[in-house]
């Protein structure tokens, strides 16, 4: 009886083992090839096959020969490609995300602590012209383009991580395709607007002796009184030069990517993307601060670029030297100001 039971148990165990063999093979390492696949000498032919690591020890690139005219396709892999992949897939989302979140959080904290910045003296009702139509057109054209470029650019980095799970593959593919068209088309009026702003405002944004005091007093927050400033204060100059420098970097690297391999090889294209993405991350954060101070942060700031004129009190408190200059112009003592320097009334 016990022998019969033992035989049954043994049979059951063998059956279970036989049934589990394929499943075990799915999770384990590749089995050693049977003797029939090895050579007569007993050597394993796949053991002699060259590995990726061994190839990279001999040369830095994996290249081959191809039959199509696009010679670039012959390059299969190189170390710079892995560095680029690390940047694009790991470092860039963190860099861009951290900059944007840190800026928004910083501004929110600043708003909670300081609230809206208002003029200390009451409004006079007298308006002074701050920006003419050409200046405002250049600003709003560049601003419109930048918002489109930033949103479509952010989709390159975060779209597949954030938007794709929400709207699904078909909608995401269509949106990304049109985003790409918009990004490459809107880049041109952006560059034109950048050039216009540089020409119109470079003179007023040259550094002067009052800038250091403005920065030291943090625009008056540290001292409690508004430091003197010309047409543009040091904070506005920082915004202006950030837009010009990073906008120029975005334009150059963007044109390089719009016409791929026209001037640069694959390494140059990757460096163009490093520069483009880094400059875009910084400029998006800077422009978030600019939008905040121009709308929610400071009462009266929007009127300057929205309607083109500001209250005299606002102008005296934030740009006292500029107001004095305007008054000298009215009296006919100074003709060194631009076309915008004409009081509204």
């Amino acid at each position: 009886m016990s022998q019969r039971l033992g035989r049954h148990l043994l049979t059951t165990l063998v059956l279970i083992g036989a049934l589990n063999c394929p499943a075990g093979a799915q999770h384990g390492q590749d089995p050693v090839p049977p003797a029939s696949t090895a050579r007569a000498s007993g050597a394993n032919p796949t053991e002699q096959a060259v590995t990726e690591q061994r190839l990279f020890q001999q040369q830095r690139k994996l290249e081959g020969r191809i039959s199509i005219p696009d010679y670039k396709a012959a390059l299969l892999e190189q170390p710079q490609g892995r560095s680029y992949q690390f940047f694009h897939e790991r470092l860039l989302p963190w860099l861009m995300g951290a900059l944007i979140v840190a800026m928004v959080a910083g501004l929110a904290l600043f708003f909670v602590m300081r609230g809206r910045i208002r003029t200390q003296a009451p409004q006079t009702g007298i308006k002074i012209k701050r920006f003419n139509v050409l200046e405002r057109t250049a600003h709003w054209m560049t601003a419109t383009c930048f918002i489109v470029l930033a949103l479509t650019g952010i989709n390159y980095v975060f779209g597949k991580r954030l938007l794709f799970p929400l709207i699904g593959p078909d909608a995401f593919a269509a949106f990304s395709q049109w985003s790409k068209f918009a990004h490459t088309a809107v880049a041109w009026p952006f560059m034109l607007g950048l050039l216009m702003m540089a020409v119109l405002w470079v003179r007023g944004n040259l550094p002067d002796r009052h800038d250091w005091r403005w920065l030291r007093e943090f625009g008056g927050f540290a001292s409690g009184t508004h430091p003197p400033a010309g047409r543009f204060n040091a904070g506005q100059k920082l915004i202006f030069w950030s837009v010009i420098i990073f906008g120029l970097a975005l334009s150059v690297t963007g044109i390089i990517m719009l016409f791929p391999f026209w001037t640069l090889d694959i390494n140059g294209m990757q460096w163009a993307q490093y520069g483009h993405a880094s400059a875009a991350s910084i400029l998006i954060a800077v422009i978030i601060a600019h939008i905040y101070i121009g709308t929610l942060g400071m009462v009266g700031a929007y009127d300057a670029i929205g309607r083109g004129e500001v209250d005299l009190t606002w102008a005296r408190e934030h740009h006292s030297l500029w107001v004095e200059q305007q008054q000298r112009v009215i009296r006919g003592h100074d003709d060194s100001v631009g076309p915008a320097g004409v009081p509204a009334e």
């Binding site: 005219p69 405002r136 709003w140 054209m141 719009l258």
Partner: protein, 73 residues
């Protein structure tokens, strides 16, 4: 507000012009990289013809063969 609307209109107009310009500069791959040995996507002379929609439609003879095999099976 009128200046903002004007700026948006100008930006959109310039973007459309730039987009059309970029589109006109692009060439299909069979024009930009022609070669005698390999066909690269010429829609007029490729293997599936110019009006291929991407959806396979069986020919009448294929349908007949499929129907017959379906009946016999």
């Amino acid at each position: 507000m009128p200046v903002i609307l004007l700026s948006i209109t100008i930006a959109a107009l310039l973007a459309v012009i730039a987009g059309l310009g970029l589109f006109s500069m692009q060439k299909p791959v069979y024009q930009s990289q022609p070669m005698p040995s390999v066909r690269l996507g010429d829609p007029g002379h490729n293997l599936v013809g110019p009006s291929w929609s991407g959806i396979h439609k069986p020919l009448r003879a294929e349908r007949a063969v499929n129907t017959k095999s379906g009946q016999s099976g």
